[in-house]
């Protein structure tokens, strides 16, 4: 059933998540990037799932991780849970995700209720050449509507 309360949201899974199109989303970026210039675009690969390498290293099988701004803030999201390092974020809206044809699925964690996923961008589908090709285009589209933010001067 389409959800008329979500502007721009397609029917089906997107609206079922209850993430309104106006909600801001964050994607934590891997640290250590080298940029030619400060004005450089966010690299497209930051929106691709970690690849499946083996059963022991399956990559991002459920999709790429994002955080919902309604349930957290940029500084908190910017902090890596594994080592406390602050890293840059990509910021975009849920309606950007929906417009591209992707979905947002809430996936709260015990210590991070804001955690969510974009399930289409997953490592299992990435093993299929044609699906990976589509994924590359989705990742580029997502990059193109994202804004780089640097909490705590990361």
């Amino acid at each position: 059933m389409p959800d008329s309360n979500i502007p721009g949201a397609p029917p089906g899974p997107a609206s079922a998540t209850g993430v309104p199109g106006t909600e801001l989303l964050y994607r934590r970026l891997l640290p250590g990037a080298w940029y030619r210039a400060q004005s450089a675009l966010i690299p497209q690969k930051y929106f691709m799932p970690r690849p499946w390498q083996s059963d022991e290293r399956p990559g991002d099988t459920d999709g790429i991780s994002i955080n919902r701004a309604s349930l957290t803030d940029a500084v908190t999201t910017s902090r890596r849970p594994d080592n406390g390092e602050y890293v840059p974020l990509a910021e975009f809206t849920a309606s950007d995700v929906y417009r591209i044809g992707l979905h947002v699925r809430g996936a709260p964690l015990l210590l991070d209720p804001s955690h969510a996923l974009i399930p289409e961008l997953n490592s299992l589908d990435r093993r299929d050449t044609e699906k990976e090709r589509k994924m590359e285009e989705w990742a580029l589209a997502l990059r193109n509507c994202s804004q780089l933010i640097k909490p705590r001067g990361t």
Partner: protein
């Protein structure tokens, strides 16, 4: 088109994609003073960064840092490109799973080379509409010792 120029020389992509660094001014016939060539210095910065990732991985044991063989392949590629006077990319990043990605952007296309293993990389070119226009694998030529398209 700086990225195309880099890939063409290195890999054998069609010659019609070649536009040398500074070529825009020449092709328009407008006499412009050439700015100092910053490319070798930019490549050096990028290579230093990749060397730092190798060190960090050995210290932190973080899987998101590039694998040593991947870093070696990307560094060799960067040295080759710098030596041939081509343009440095817009970004070089650890792209997850031990990989490294280099990206070039122009108003007309986006080109990404992702290093995935020893002597192996993928090449992808998007058109201005964001669609994949070309996709291929690069492998090290055992004779030239340079990455070349498999095409």
């Amino acid at each position: 088109m700086k990225g195309s120029m880099m890939l063409t020389q290195a890999t054998g992509i069609a010659r019609d994609r070649i536009i040398p660094v500074g070529g825009t001014a020449c092709s328009t016939g407008i006499a412009l003073t050439q700015p100092p060539n910053r490319e070798p210095a930019l490549w050096k910065q990028a290579i230093d960064q990749m060397l730092e990732w190798k060190t960090k991985r050995s210290v932190d044991n973080c899987e998101d840092y590039p694998a040593p063989d991947v870093a070696d392949t990307a560094i060799d590629f960067a040295v080759d490109q710098s030596d041939t006077g081509t343009s440095a990319p817009d970004s070089i990043v650890p792209s997850g799973g031990g990989r490294i990605a280099m990206e070039w952007n122009t108003p007309f296309e986006t080109i990404i080379v992702e290093f995935i293993g020893l002597g192996a990389a993928t090449y992808i070119r998007f058109d201005s509409a964001g669609k994949v226009a070309a996709r291929d694998t690069l492998r090290r030529n055992p004779q030239s010792r340079r990455l070349q398209l498999q095409g």
